[in-house]
Each structure stands twice: as structure tokens, then as C-alpha cells.
């Protein structure tokens, strides 16, 4: 069917004004103000006065910031790697199940994913505590002499971040994995490949882009964790997110908090961009 005049559309053009106004006013403007605060002059003990100086950015060169950055990146990288390694087979297996099984598993994953970090932190510190935790179980079956606490520690923090990141990793992988044609794997099996060989030789290479993308997204996701480092880790395990809030609220140093925030945003944006590039080359799915 051809139209001589431009066909009437279902929605008028001005409909975009309202979301544009809201997102501009409440997302772009705050970001702009944050940029300007990051170069403002800090007034000791008070807030800040308008100005233009790089002082807050120059603090990035201090050992303090270097350590914070190394801790944040290291912990998140480890958590993201563990999450993706566990989540990938999980997702592949899940995608081969019936719809009702998939729906039920997705309900559990979404429920866990939506849980507040404070609840996850509380639950895990209870699970790892001395009075109510797995220490009791280990003691009861004779693995250790007396129940002990496993938190706060790096192990507890990593467990928490994996708890947070695992459902997210599955959901990120779910769409590309479920688009994988099951006949490709069947073909490999018919040609005599073992299940493991079909998995590592066919499924993994086909999903390379999706895996890279998921790894980066989980990394950014765990990088944003704010309460877990405080609830499950020691002060040495505080991440960039914790320090940003700490500087903004308790040290009353908004310019430095804003500068760290801008830095974190640039890192995250670059990574998310990389992830969407990686997700694009999805192979012959």
C-alpha cells in the first residue's frame, strides 16, 4: 500500500516534550550542577563556593585515591568473573527448560535481584554469623571445633557481591542465550562431539560477545554496590561508591565527591559502551 501524503501517526510529535522536560530537568541539570561543583572551590568546614579549579581532580593522584580505586576495581572484577562463570551454564541450562520452569526460576531471580542491599547484607551477615550462621552447621558435623563468624571479611564481601551480581548476570545473559538455535548444538552432538565439547567448542564461542558484554555489565553493577562493603567488609574494603557518599555527607567535601562521581561516571559510560559493542557481534545466533 502506498501513501501519497505522509500517513497520520498514532501519537502526536509534542508527546516527547514531557519526558524530554522531565529527564532534562531532573537528570541532565543535576549532572551539569555536579560537574560545576566538581571544579568549585571547597570551603573548609562548610560547603563550597563557585569557582574553577582542578584541586579536586588533582587529589586523584594521591595514594589514598589510588588505593580506593585498586580495591574497588579488584573486588568488582573478581565478583564479576565469578558471577559470569557461574551464571553462563546456569542460563544455558535454564533456556533449555520448559516455559513454566523458566518462569519460576525467573521469579526467584527477580525477587532476589530486587532485594535491598541492606537486606542482602543483613541476611548474609546473619548466615555467616556466630550465633545463627553456617559455623553452627560446620561445628555440628565436626568440621570445626566451635562455631565462628565469617564476617566481616573479604570473603564475606565477595560472597555478598556475587549474591548481588549472579541474578543480574543470568538476566543479562538470558536474552542472547535463549536466542541460540538449539539445533546448532544438536548438530555438533550428532557429529560426535561430547556434551562438554559441544558446550566449549560451539556454545561458548557463539556467545563470546554476549559473555564479554555480561562481564562488563556485572562489573559496573557490582561497582555500584554501596552498603555491602560497609556491612560485610572491613574499612579497608570500602569501594569508590562508599567514599563518594562519605566525602559528600560526613566529610562535607562536595567538590571532591562530585569529582570522584564524574570519574566513576566516565569509567562506567566507557565500559557500558564497550559492553554494547561486544553484545552486538553475537555471531550466527
Amino acid at each position: 500500500m502506498t501513501h501519497l501524503a505522509e500517513p497520520e501517526t498514532a501519537v502526536p510529535r509534542w508527546i516527547a516534550l514531557w519526558p524530554a522536560l522531565m529527564l532534562g530537568l531532573f537528570f541532565l541539570v543535576p549532572f551539569g550542577i555536579m560537574l560545576s561543583v566538581s571544579v568549585a572551590h571547597r570551603v573548609e568546614g562548610g560547603f563550597f563556593e563557585p569557582g574553577f579549579e582542578w584541586a579536586s581532580y588533582i587529589r586523584f593522584l594521591t595514594p589514598f585515591f589510588g588505593r580506593v580505586l585498586a580495591v574497588s576495581l579488584g573486588i568488582s572484577l573478581a565478583a564479576a568473573a565469578i558471577c559470569v562463570v557461574l551464571a553462563f551454564p546456569f542460563t544455558v541450562f535454564l533456556a533449555s527448560m520448559s516455559r513454566s520452569v523458566q518462569t519460576r526460576v525467573l521469579v526467584v531471580l527477580l525477587s532476589v535481584l530486587s532485594l535491598s542491599e541492606v537486606i542482602i547484607g543483613f541476611s548474609l551477615s546473619t548466615l555467616l554469623s556466630q550465633t545463627a550462621g553456617i559455623g553452627n552447621l560446620f561445628a555440628a558435623i565436626g568440621l570445626i571445633d566451635a562455631p565462628r563468624a565469617y564476617t566481616p571479611s573479604l570473603f564475606a564481601l565477595l560472597t555478598g557481591l556475587c549474591y548481588l551480581g549472579f541474578p543480574f548476570a543470568v538476566l543479562v545473559l538470558y536474552a542472547p542465550v535463549s536466542r541460540l538455535d538449539p539445533e546448532i548444538v544438536e548438530a555438533a552432538r550428532v557429529m560426535g562431539a561430547s556434551a562438554a565439547r559441544a558446550f566449549f567448542g560451539v556454545v561458548v564461542p557463539l556467545q563470546r560477545g554476549a559473555l564479554t558484554g555480561a562481564f562488563i555489565l556485572v562489573f559496573v553493577f557490582t561497582l555500584g554496590s554501596y552498603l555491602l562493603p560497609q556491612l560485610l567488609g572491613r574499612p579497608g574494603h570500602w569501594t569508590l561508591s562508599v567514599h563518594i557518599t562519605d566525602q559528600a555527607i560526613y566529610q562535607a567535601n562536595l567538590p571532591f565527591a562530585a569529582a570522584m562521581s564524574v570519574f566513576l561516571m566516565l569509567v562506567a559510560l566507557a565500559l557500558v559502551g564497550l559492553a554494547s559493542l561486544a553484545g552486538r557481534d553475537r555471531g550466527a545466533a
Binding site: 555536579m34 521469579v107 548466615l127
Partner: protein, 266 residues
Amino acid sequence: MTRGLKLAYICVLLALLLAPLIVVTGVSLNGAQSLRFPPQDLSLKWYGALFHDREWLVPLMNSLIIASCAAALAVAIAAPLALYAWERGGLVARLLTGLGLAPFALPPVISALGFMIFWMTVGGYGQIWATIVSHGVFLVTLPLVTISLGLKATDRALIEAARVMGADRMTVLRTVIGPLLLPYVVSGYAFAFVLSLNEYIIAYMVAGFTVETLPIKIFNALRYGYTPILGVVSVIFAALAALVFGLIGRFGNLPRLMGAERVRDE
């Protein structure tokens, strides 16, 4: 690998995810003010305490008000945006969609600090409506994604048919597109509602010292020691999330909503 082994792997990981929640459920049933697992002298008294103690009731009400209003705002922003992007495409649509997806893709502390400085500058810092607006904008992503999915699944021929029969724009929107989109709007609202209920850092940085939400209250209470009431709140939150997503799973198509294209119906 056999189906049994695959199922076993899935079940083991799900059990690990559920383990902390099971312990917390047990802890919430303690009679005394202590965290014991297995619980001692079973009692439901802490469940009653949550709904009678003003100290917990106020944050609960704050959380519910913020979540219901913020989710409505998120839908109100996302729906016209999704419609516009679906109908027009082009640079403006792509920029706006990117803007709608951005807050959620970035570490939330960035948005939180942005909102905090913004409300300090324009006034509103420490007010409940500032938290509502901040949450609403932050959570636009969720209804935006679900409504866009719904529009993608909409058959344009239906709209064409309605138009040929003489329906004007508003009538098409009201009688064809609206009802088709309703399930996606509802699930978008539900996603945003649950996430707002659980959100900590934005609520904390925008109005944490004056408008206590439930997650903020829990974190503050943790500093003074653990009580079974924390278990109660965790159980209720987990149950609420399971109920909401369970309903979406029951009445909607959760695998499709999560992006699956081929799922066996059995």
C-alpha cells in the same frame, strides 16, 4: 549432559540464593531479642511489633508512599517516551531513549549525588517529594523497557484497521494501543514499585535524615545491634517481591519480558 544434571545445577544455585533468606526467616521467629538459628521459643511477636511500633510504622508508610508515587511518575514519563520512539525513530527518539536508560545503567551513587546537589541548589533537599521525583526519574528505565517491548509486539495492522474504520488519534490510542499495552504498563509499574521500595542510596542522600524509608531504617537499626524485627522486614520485602513477580509470571509472559524469543510451551 542429561536433563537431571542440568536441573541439579540450577537447583543448587537457587538453594544458595535462598539460604540466607531461609536463615533470616528462622531468625525472625525467635521469641527473645536475639538472633538464633534454629530459632528458640518460636513466636510471631516481632511481626506484630512491626505494625504497632511507630518507630517502624512511619518508615514503612514513607516507603509505600514514595514507591507508589515514584512508580506512577516513572510510568508517566516512560509511556509517552516509548510511544514517541516507537512511532518516529530518528535521532531525537534515540537520544531520549538513551537518556531514559542511562540513570539505571550507571552506578546509582552517581545519580544519588547528582540529585543531592540538585535539591540542595533548588530547594527541596530533605523533602519527601524530592525523593519521589528522584526515584521516579531514576526508575524510568524499567517501564520504558517493558512498554517498548509491548509496542514491539503490537501489530501495526490493528492500528491501520482502526484508522481505516474512521477512528481518530485519541480513539486509536484509547481503544487499541492502550488496552494492548496495559499488561506491559502494569509490569513496568510493578518493577519500578519494587525497586523503589528497596532503593537505599538515593533516598538516603536526598532526604535520609528527615524522611526515613524502610531500607534506611534497617541500616540505622543495624548499627544498634541486630533484632529479629530486621528479619521480619526482610521476610516481608522478599515475600512482596516474590508476590509481584509471581503475579507477572502467572498472568504475563516473563520469559518474553526478559527478552527470550523461543520458549517451549508445555
